[in-house]
């Protein structure tokens, strides 16, 4: 690593948004995050998979809100005003992720991402692409592409 130029090192630093779901810490790359909003009511969609809560109005854009907790197998969230929606842009689609609370914006080194432990279930393996150790906590990095893909597969079925 001693040969690495300063540019290389700079490029390795990424910013992540960390948030909590059921007292577990998760994060996603800040590049995906457009904004963070408080919970607003959504419009129920017919024939939608159970983790798609409904459609929300973001200044005239109509976008789906996904219950990340449901996606990750942590149970259905009953949304209240304390809940938070992270508006993310993935593959030109805008999606809202419902989470318990947003914790922090952290700068981590991309090289510091550790692989998900082997104990992982199929679902963990699919949606968690790795973990960061931030001080004493484990922050699970969510693979947003997988989540979006699952949404597409389920709804196409």
């Amino acid at each position: 690593m001693s040969e690495a130029t300063p540019q290389d090192q700079a490029a390795a630093w990424i910013e992540i948004v960390s948030f909590a779901i059921c007292e577990q810490a998760f994060c996603l790359d800040i590049g995906h995050v457009l904004e963070i909003r408080g919970w607003t009511t959504t419009t129920t969609l017919p024939h939608a998979p159970d983790y798609v809560i409904g459609m929300m109005n973001l200044r005239g854009n109509v976008l789906p809100v996904v219950d990340l907790s449901m996606c990750l197998g942590l149970g259905k969230t009953v949304p209240e005003s304390r809940h938070v929606i992270i508006i993310a842009c993935i593959n030109e689609k805008t999606v809202g992720f419902l989470v318990d609370a947003v914790s922090n914006i952290l700068t981590v080194n991309a090289a510091d991402m550790q692989s998900t432990p082997d104990v992982s279930s199929e679902r963990t393996a699919a949606f968690i692409k790795g973990v960061y150790m931030v001080e004493d906590t484990i922050v699970r990095a969510i693979d947003v592409h997988q989540i979006l893909q699952q949404q597409e597969e389920v709804s196409a079925a």
């Binding site: 969609l45 017919p46 005239g60 689609k93 999606v95 709804s155």
Partner: protein
Amino acid sequence: MSDLREMFFEECDDLLEGLSTGLTALEGDTGDDETINSMFRSVHSIKGGAGAFGMDRLIEFAHAFENVLDLLRSDKLQVDGPITALMFLATDHLSDLVNAARDEIDLPASEGLSVLSDLKLVSQDPGAAPTAVADAQEEDVTGFVPLTLDLGDAFTELPDISGAITECAFDISFAAEPALYANGHDPALLFRTLSKMGELSISADTSAVKPLEADTGELAALSWSLHLVPDEGVNEEAVREVFEFVEGLCQLTITACSPDDAPELSIPEDTEAVDHLPAGTEAPTKAAAAVGAKKKSDEARNATIRVDLKRVDRLINLVGELVISEAMLRQSIDELPRSANSAVSEAMGQLKQLSGSLQESVMAIRAQPVRSLFQRMSRIVRESAREAGKTARLVMVGEATEVDKTVTERLVEPLTHMIRNSVDHGLETPQDRIEAGKPEQGIIRLEAAHKSGRVVISLSDDGAGINRAKVRAIAEEKGLVRPEEDLTDTDIDNLLFRPGFSTATEVSNLSGRGVGMDVVRNEIQALGGRIALFSEQGRGTKLTISLPLTLAVMEGMVVTVAGESLVVPTLSLRETLQPGQADIHAFCDEDRALSLGGDLIPIIDLGASLGFRPVLTDFSDQSILLIEGDSGRRTALAVDGIIDQREVVIKGLEQNYQQITGIAAATILGDGKIALIVDTDQVITSPGVSMPSRQIRPELNGVPQHV
């Protein structure tokens, strides 16, 4: 490089459109020198662009075409029937070549060969063409002979020598554009003013006026030649001033001449034409005049800009938002105590008006005249007539009618199909027409007009009309109707829209009337439109399409179902009812039907079919929306309540999510909540959706499936 290429092809579209406009004008005898000049420039520009990209075949063809047009504009060849026909063919082929170049495909080498050789033949030897007039004046020093096409040049301007020629007379040629009349000007008033300036003689040219029965409603067929011997002190400037307010609304030429002289030769506006001039004494003045004239005529044209559609869409979305925010604001102000808000509500009224007209103006950006669409259709008429061995003429009315760009684009296919049908099956053979006492040439009429917030496009032919006995016989044969069924004429006509219907004996390589008409109808309905058919035995058939002005807004009924607000498009909505319990009949476990005027209409519980709740057993508290589907099938949609009817801004679901069965799109209501727009056809026809008990998700509300 690819950007440049794209730009070239976009430009080609405009140029080709200009070319056909010119041709149509020539055919209708309303063209003038400038028409041919601009046609020449169009072909020349295409050739130039093709040269830059090395499209050899296109260059060769454009070059041959250009040569013929050059002969026309220098009057070495005269416009007549065969030449016009040749130019139509050439334009069609040119557009084929452009399209082939755009799609990077090779047209078969044989295609267009005969057109090319005709063009070459005509240009090599104008005398050889059957009616071309050999021009003996080729060496004429002026190089300018007035074209027999006539009518004045636009804005020919002579150098300012007005001071010296107050003694002169003026020859004025004046042809009004339709806009002149539309703006409330009256040529008679202009002439009256002129008559006060001296001795005025007027002659009107009525040659372009069509017979009453063929009148297309165009008002601008008249042109006038005026000769003014002015009183002392009246100079050219004063004469020009009379026409100041109609500048740009007419074709005007004012030529000064000495009272006894013949009028001066008219001056073609194209500067390129000046190149032909030998360096004579007159040349510089004429060149200057021509340049001035060109500049002016350019100014008269509407200035336009090209804008990326995405930017316009963004603007439209933002304005949609503004309108919704305005509605939200109004709603909350209405809820305030009454005393506090008279000034506020006045300001609200203004805001509403402003946002309304802002929305209208923004929508107008996407609007474009249907002209280009119609002109494409004139080609379809020519080609299908040729294939079917008939003669047909396309009459276009209301080409200036503006429709959303998306709508015009998506109309190409259905209109093409309809026109082929009209030519192939609507019109009789020339023989039959003569026997029926009609002119040999059939007339296909394509009209566009705005009617109460919608665009109505109608296509009519003066053919034999629908042979209803035959249609009925075929429908019976195909089992679409029972022999004992009592059908009105309209019912029979509508059989043509039924899927699978085909007047099999009439099917040709073009298309049969009926073949694919169901597809045409589906496409029109996908645009939020309706299509209707009228036919009169022996007189012809007329298809009328009614479309929304834009795809961004539609009219809907806001209803509530299981606590959700939904919008049902009013397009297919026929009636709303509050049923008494007695009108509803149960069938087995959960099916219900409504009896109405002797018919039993199935009831679909909208809430259940969308999976919002288990199916209802008691419909007495429900409101019923009577829906008529694609095939004329009626269905009763049960909803909890009807809120109101309003225009809604359509928001697609596909962009961030995907299509949902039974849902067409979404919209945002005045309170900022999203309401889903119901796709009534899918709700009615999709079996998966209309059988709610097997679809419903038990976890919803935690209630059992059957109550």
